[in-house]
Symmetry: D2
Subunit: 125 residues, 4 copies
């Protein structure tokens, strides 16, 4: 997240907000944020939100996510929110969104499954 200039705006149990200022090098040819960047930020918000409800020492992996792109990601700044919809022992289901800060336009919606893994080596199931 640091690479793209994103910062944690708020962390509460089951809910995380990440801010992303506009940067021209994150956009595609039309000046819109690239779908990969949109996904990365919302996925991170969902992953951190899941992590807030996992046991200490757990790491989180994205199992899968589904993204609907609703509007062009154009604006001076963006805000991603991730929310835990259901926290299980192994799997956590989250929803997330990315909004334009100025206009509050929703750019993207995510529905994702996160997995708690022991340790921090990021190994997959």
């Amino acid at each position: 997240m640091a690479t793209i200039g994103a910062t944690l705006a708020s962390v509460r149990p089951g809910e995380v907000v990440i801010d992303l200022p506009y940067r021209s090098d994150l956009t595609q040819q039309h000046g819109f944020l690239h779908a990969g960047v949109v996904t990365a930020v919302v996925d991170s918000a969902c992953g951190y939100a899941a992590l807030t409800l996992m046991p200490p020492g757990a790491a989180v992996l994205s199992v899968e996510f589904k993204v609907n792109l609703l509007a062009p990601a154009r604006g001076a700044g963006f805000r991603a929110q991730g929310r835990v919809e259901r926290a299980g022992r192994t799997l956590t289901v989250c929803t997330g969104e990315l909004r334009v800060v100025d206009s509050d336009t929703v750019i993207a919606l995510m529905q994702a499954t996160m997995m708690a893994v022991e340790g921090r080596d990021g190994r997959r199931d």
Copy 2:
């Protein structure tokens, strides 16, 4: 795609292959390719694959995609493939995948909906 060092490896009607060499600045803390980069490359392969079957002058927009992350994106190089499963007048459904070049391990699977738009300004529906 140029920003992340990706290159078109092959373009055929309904099928596009994109190569992505490893670059340390595209990885997260464990040396794996970030989920956003994985998504961006496979989404691009799917989008270009859809575009090959669209009328001249059309542009393509990602309506939505679903990604399953199957294995850590670790390797010297990656290859994304996008395939058109059904080309409609307005909507095109694609499947895509990302593999590690060395081991042929599948890292990610995508199922996506693309939309043809008139003109090239990237406006959304």
Copy 3:
């Protein structure tokens, strides 16, 4: 919907609620509502919600949906809600959920894309 005993509980612009009483013939071996029935009800709620914001004479088609199953669908009755997140000229993005009426437990979450089609013959793009 009539086949499975579902009834429209409320219809507002962009939001539709459908009630589904428990029926043993809709369950799988463990007495839970089958995933196909869960999907059908939430898909219908999303489709009707989309239709409320489409021009008169339009019909609605489900382009795609993504469902997370969060808890076993067990209870005396179920309530599905579909909401429009973004209504476009051609495509409408909805979110939906199914809850157990007694406990308010969320059984399933849906994120779906609906398409407006002219006429009522259900032809696809």
Copy 4:
């Protein structure tokens, strides 16, 4: 599956085929198979495919699935196929499809996550 007249056509490690003859009571108003029935059959094919690679005594749960509806489900008979794309200790990723038997038209594509659970009580994570 018995309720809707579906039968197992073939079971191999990691791949299951289910046949579904046309029945008028499974259709919606236009004589097409309902999206819920389409989903149920492909979900079952994916679930059984996952089960073939799980340890003895394990049961399988659908964690989530994503379905693209490509063409109207109209025909004298339908064939669903589920394939394991990656079998993990806990999670198995499958792809599936439903075809019209006569024309080989693909009606639906699924990408799904299945979970192995101990015992057979269908409890969720």
